[in-house]
Amino acid sequence: MTGAPAVDPAAPPLLEVIGVSKHFPGVTALDDVSLDVRAGEILGLLGENGAGKSTLLKILSGAQPASSGRIVFAGQDYAPAGPEAARRAGIVTIYQELSLIPTLSVAENIFVNRAPTGRLGLVDWRRMRREATGILARVNLSIPPDIPVSALSVAEQQLVEIARALSLESRLIIMDEPTSALTETEVQQLFGIMEKLRREGVAIMFVTHRLEEASVMCDRMTVLRDGRLAGHLLRKAGPILVPRIIEKMVGRAASDLYARPTRRENAGAVRLSVRGLRTVRAADAAHAIVLDGVDLDLRAGEILGIAGLVGSGRTELARAIFGADPIAAGTILLDGQPIAPASPADARDLGIGLVPEDRKQQAILAMLPIRQNFSIAAMDLYSNRLGFMRSGREGAALGEYRKAMSIRMASPEQAIDGLSGGNQQKVILARWLARDPKVLIVDEPTRGVDVGAKTEVHQILVQLASRGIAIMMISSELPEVLSVSDRIVTMRQGRITGEMPAVEATEEKLMTLMALESRQGVLQ
């Protein structure tokens, strides 16, 4: 920001990552990556989903060992055995999902595992409170240390985590998407604290999707792409500009993986029409993402790609249409008729299907056989009037999908969690196809799906669209959005920020619409 960075260019870097790689069976998540961070600077770590950021963070925070390479921290070799060892060495990672214990007080959280004790070995509450107040002051927080963490806003909780990190005498604080759940004002507060820490000589590694923010805050940036180092960017006279960052992040031809599937005929009539859709902010989730007036048309036989960052409202849009979350205002028309699904069961009966984003938590019945996972949404079709399952029909239908989608399984009676991610996802797709839905919403259809199966899933989506199903595809992976969709809309902060035919879209255009502050981002 203003003022010279508090970095002594002659001093050795605080953290040096030298040629670090991480291999998983069949996948190289991180390939020969090097970077360094100096005391008193903010280093931005950027890259698309799957670029290797999370893997690097896991290595630095002690959650996983590196496969090869060397890390030097404060002049010593650094290879933490676990998160606790990393913390003791002086590196603290603050994740998107905060790690405070909500039912305990702020002070108890700060001193978790190391409460100050008196002569009898009992907790010295007074001292703990006093010291907590002092620690909180370092991050400009003036909350009483006695209140439970659950009573704090997300922003305040984050600051408590930072305060705890400082009290542990951390010299490097890694922040993973710290602003994704914050309001504009809270972001500014956080930046103020980051700036203050920088001046105090703390090193900060700032991982973010929000390029504007990175541009404003970072002294230097390291950009990863496909697990490799894409380059370093250095702040000179002015901030590092967003287009330069995007160039570094994207800089590649669309890989073979995302070869554009064959085009379809022009899309048909409007199937689903959404106008002014708003969702409720629940009283107990003051920081949840809400839809703020979404207008959208989805045509029969088209694949509409929804591009947006985590927290843009894309999943909330899917859930609202599917009746999974209550709607505050707005209308939904299906084939011209107003609908108001009050539950997923209603939406299903209307001909809408949803393949949710988190397969494990929201889609599969992990312990149950594939057969039951397949037919759960279509049991009315595979049972008689008395409610008895017609397992012959059910099995025959599953057999067809098994062949058509080449689902690799030993037997329909096998538990679904024994399948690979790709095959699980195919079963979940088959679950909805069995109903022959009018509208199918797929949220992150290839998350956790291996490379080969990704292409298969894409082909399946294209086939479904050519059968006339209207498909809405939400994805964090821009190459996927670009190659599979016919038309693309971008979302940010619960609103649609742009729309274009896929043939005109580029990663740069989409990323600009997804990542820019909304006041600048409303281009349409």
């Binding site: 539950s343 997923p344 312990m367 009315d380 008895f388 538990a415």
Partner: protein, 338 residues
């Protein structure tokens, strides 16, 4: 990672899988073998039907409890509910609360066993409905709702009966508790038919599939269009129905409805379900296991009694078996995935 297991089971019999499925049953046979050797009276027809008759009451409730536990729920109120349903049934059988203690069965004033049976199961089902609605609408955990129910139904029973029993029913009603069809006691037949019905419902119907789905992953079930709340209310109604049916059979057998009937039954019932392999976390298990679990407890108690083991020691033994059964199940799960 699963391929070695898959290969083994495709190639032949996987010992762990067999153990996992039939573990409780094998344990039951082993136990019966021990008792058959240690006591000559154990393996007599009279004794075995006696055991079967004893387990029918808690067994009936355990069938209903299986549905509840499969959804990852629990019902602690069943013992009290049994007493309450029994008392209501008795009042109906006697034609009012006035003439409660006449053992001389000139009970022409009553409404007959049909009305008594109907009253017992309707009251039980309604109680389940109310508890289920509180659980789903007000989002109170089942443990709390049914813990409340445990004292509420006991209190209602005492209020209704004034604390005493209601005794003396018609021979027609008593047949359901003491009658025989051939050599088989009527309660055993009722339990057997009910178990078969529950098995069919759980295994072969949409509703049964939904019960497993809700217990397996309620959010995924909801997002697949299962009306989760309806399923949950239904399972509490089912266990309530069986508490009512068990109450009727128990009253018929004892020729008396006691205000203190069924105390502690919830624990026996839950033990039977859990020993039978149904997971308290939902989604895994079934009626077959519950029948085995209930039988196991019945045989254990009977065998210990025959061998003159004190009732104090019996309690210790049942507790140990319960823990051992679950520990064994956990251990197997760590060996066999899926």
């Amino acid at each position: 990672m699963t391929s070695p297991v898959a290969q083994r089971s495709l190639g032949g019999v996987n010992a762990f899988r067999v153990l996992k499925q039939f573990g409780p049953l094998l344990f039951l046979f082993a136990l019966m073998l021990v008792f058959a050797i240690t006591n000559e009276n154990f393996l007599t027809q009279l004794n075995l039907f006696n055991v079967a008759r004893q387990i029918s009451i808690t067994g009936l409730i355990a069938l209903g409890m299986t549905f509840v536990i499969l959804t990852a729920g629990i019902d602690l109120s069943v013992g009290s509910l049994l007493a309450f349903c029994g008392m209501v049934g008795a009042v109906v059988a006697k034609g009012g609360t006035a003439n409660t203690l006449s053992l001389s069965s000139n009970a022409g004033a009553g409404y007959g066993w049909g009305a008594a049976l109907l009253a017992a199961v309707v009251v039980g089902t309604l109680a389940g409905l109310v508890q289920g609605l509180i659980i789903t609408r007000l989002r109170v955990p089942p443990f709390v709702v049914t813990l409340g129910g445990l004292t509420i139904f006991r209190g209602l029973t005492l209020t209704l009966s004034g604390g005493g029993p209601i005794s003396g029913f018609t021979p027609g009603m008593r047949w359901f508790g003491t009658g025989l069809v051939g050599p088989v006691p009527v309660p055993v037949i009722i339990f057997g038919l009910a178990a078969l019905l529950c098995h069919v419902v759980l295994r072969y119907t949409r509703f049964g599939r939904a019960v497993y789905a809700v217990g397996g992953n309620a959010e995924a079930a909801r997002l697949s269009g299962v009306r989760v709340d309806r399923v949950l209310v239904s399972v509490y109604m089912i266990v309530g129905f069986f508490a009512g049916l068990a109450a009727f059979v128990l009253s018929a057998r004892l020729n008396s409805a006691e205000a203190v009937a069924g105390i502690g039954y919830e624990l026996t019932v839950i033990s039977a379900v859990v020993i039978g392999g149904t997971s308290l976390f939902g989604g895994i298990g079934g009626v077959g296991g519950t029948v085995v679990g209930a039988t196991l407890i019945g045989v254990l108690v009977n065998g210990l009694v025959l061998n003159n083991v004190s009732s104090y020691t019996q309690q210790v033994t049942i507790g140990l078996i319960l823990i051992a059964a679950v520990a064994f199940d956990r251990w197997l799960k760590s060996r066999v995935r899926g």
